[in-house]
Symmetry: C2
């Protein structure tokens, strides 16, 4: 053991120490949502004492939680007064129309904790350590996902629908792994004559059908229950949406699936893949690149694919060309043309 000699910036164990404790940030974020801390601050409660009263919690607990959220950039602190960072104000205040706090309901499920607690075994195997991970048929976690994630997907679904409208109206639209339904519903909203066919597990489709009704497009929303790999998906589509789906599978499976999609499209039709697309280095941008870890922990062979990999997948499946539109929320949009 040598003591550090360079007085300026010797290596410290700080990064390692903080990484070991990183799970505290998951728990603190969930607690802040559960207790409505962000909402309390948005309502004008800015001290630990007034936030604690509003949230029915202990002042000491709230003070420590709010300091922690400040350290991690969700809050500001000026003397004893907390404020909301812009992203917390927009997305984590329950009164905001863009509130996405319900996403904690899916991301931190017991199953997600369990598969991650076996991550060492997943690295050894090169895939999830528990069965098929999240890919079990009729997995009830996908109902939770559909219920929890719709708000988080609202903005990217709107962005994708607006982007796809630039290429012309779509009349017959298929939404793969439709989940909450928001991608298909958003297309229906900007294409008043579009008929939406939604493919997902039967238990999950109920959530999408309910959302379609709430958003006034029930009469143009048609569920196709069952595995998207096995169901007859129909034909002559102008547009097939494939949001956050292909990352669950390996490249040959994606390619075979895209052949099925190619066959379901009209000539000139488009497939719209919405997904996390890292750069070729696979370590930037950080959020898209890190999504590979989620796929290692939760699927047998899924991944976050690069633009080149998606281009190769869709070309091998018979598509003529593909283009990438970045910044659809945290994701990217790949448009593949039949």
């Amino acid at each position: 053991m040598t003591t550090p000699t360079a007085p300026s910036h010797p290596p410290t164990p700080e990064r390692f120490f903080n990484a070991m404790n990183a799970y505290q940030l998951t728990e603190a974020t969930k607690s802040a949502i559960d207790l409505e801390v962000f909402t309390a601050i948005a309502e004008g409660n800015t001290t630990a004492q007034t936030i604690a009263t509003r949230c029915k919690a202990a002042e000491r607990g709230v003070r420590i939680l709010c300091d922690f959220l400040t350290i991690h950039g969700f809050l500001t602190k000026d003397e004893a007064n907390y404020g909301l960072a812009p992203d917390a104000a927009l997305f984590l205040n329950r009164h905001s129309p863009a509130y996405i706090g319900s996403a904690t309901g899916f991301i931190i499920t017991p199953h997600m904790r369990e598969v991650h607690a076996c991550l060492t075994e997943a690295v050894r195997r090169g895939g999830t350590a528990i069965g098929n991970g999240t890919l079990e048929p009729e997995n009830p976690d996908w109902v939770k996902f559909a219920e929890a994630m719709m708000p988080l997907m609202f903005m990217p679904a709107q962005l994708a629908a607006a982007e796809l409208l630039k290429g012309g109206e779509s009349l017959k639209v298929l939404d793969i792994a439709s989940s909450h339904g928001i991608y298909g519903i958003s297309i229906a909203k900007v294409n008043p004559d579009a008929q939406i066919y939604a493919s997902d597990w039967k238990n999950v489709l109920e959530v999408g059908v309910k959302n379609a009704a709430a958003m006034g497009v029930a009469d143009r929303y048609h569920p196709l229950p069952g595995s998207a790999f096995e169901t007859d998906l129909g034909a002559d589509y102008d547009l097939v949406l494939i949001p956050n789906f292909l990352h669950h599978f390996d490249i040959p499976t994606c390619t075979d699936f895209m052949k099925k999609i190619h066959a379901a499209l009209k000539p000139g039709g488009r497939a719209a893949i919405i997904d996390f697309v890292p750069n070729p280095d696979r370590v930037t941008p950080p959020t898209a690149a890190a999504f590979s870890m989620m796929m290692l922990a939760t699927t047998p062979s899924g991944d976050a694919y690069t633009q080149a990999e998606y281009e190769s997948i869709v070309k091998d499946a018979g598509f003529t060309r593909a283009e990438l539109v970045p910044h659809i929320g945290i994701s990217s949009l790949i448009i593949a043309y039949r």
Copy 2:
């Protein structure tokens, strides 16, 4: 819901998304230590394939893990070759004398996961949601702590011993919550005539006694088993070490305890508190400030105290003055003079 209008930097849900998934970093760090990924790279294995062979893991799993570790700054990546960041090379390579990877054994115990999974309840109560948290008598986790954390504490213990030597030699030394023993042992190494009295739970003291023997100071190392609050700690000490102990308790308890320490010191003797000391704002520096969260989750009323709070504690306990020495590892050293 409005779509963002500012094209440059609209708020995005990215911080929230990453915070919810922060537990992945805990698991990935633990997996990398368990599989000896850092050691494999230090040995010259730089591609996913060669690292996988060395670590007996799948190439795909290793590639995703190493990309993730690169995103989080532990590794570098140049084309397909991974390298170690300076802190990873020094602290996480098993062949390095400064290896601290064993610390995962304490920080990520089932008990630690469990108390953090109840964090919302802890915020409501203002203290740990499960019993006395880590403060249960003879808690076996403290044996794990003693075994796992000694390497992580080696450097700060050396720094503290060197700093304290500047104030003169110490002959009779008491080490409170001695744990692995490294703080007292380090004093013994630089004060060849010092006798070290080590106070901790009986089961924990066995680890310190073993380490004292391994480091050649067994004949000057004297265990004092039992609660430091209840044990007769002896008298006429030149120096009392209090490393990472006071943060477990509230201020009145700390003050009462420091009175007991004051009584055990010779006139002119020193108490050396080693602990996380945040700035008055309680949100900087980040690692010391964030330690409050660990105390909220794991203790009834512990905290990371500021310099002013420590000064008040030791003055109320009868000490004449206190001085702070920062950068004892991630911690600070407070020297209180009787």
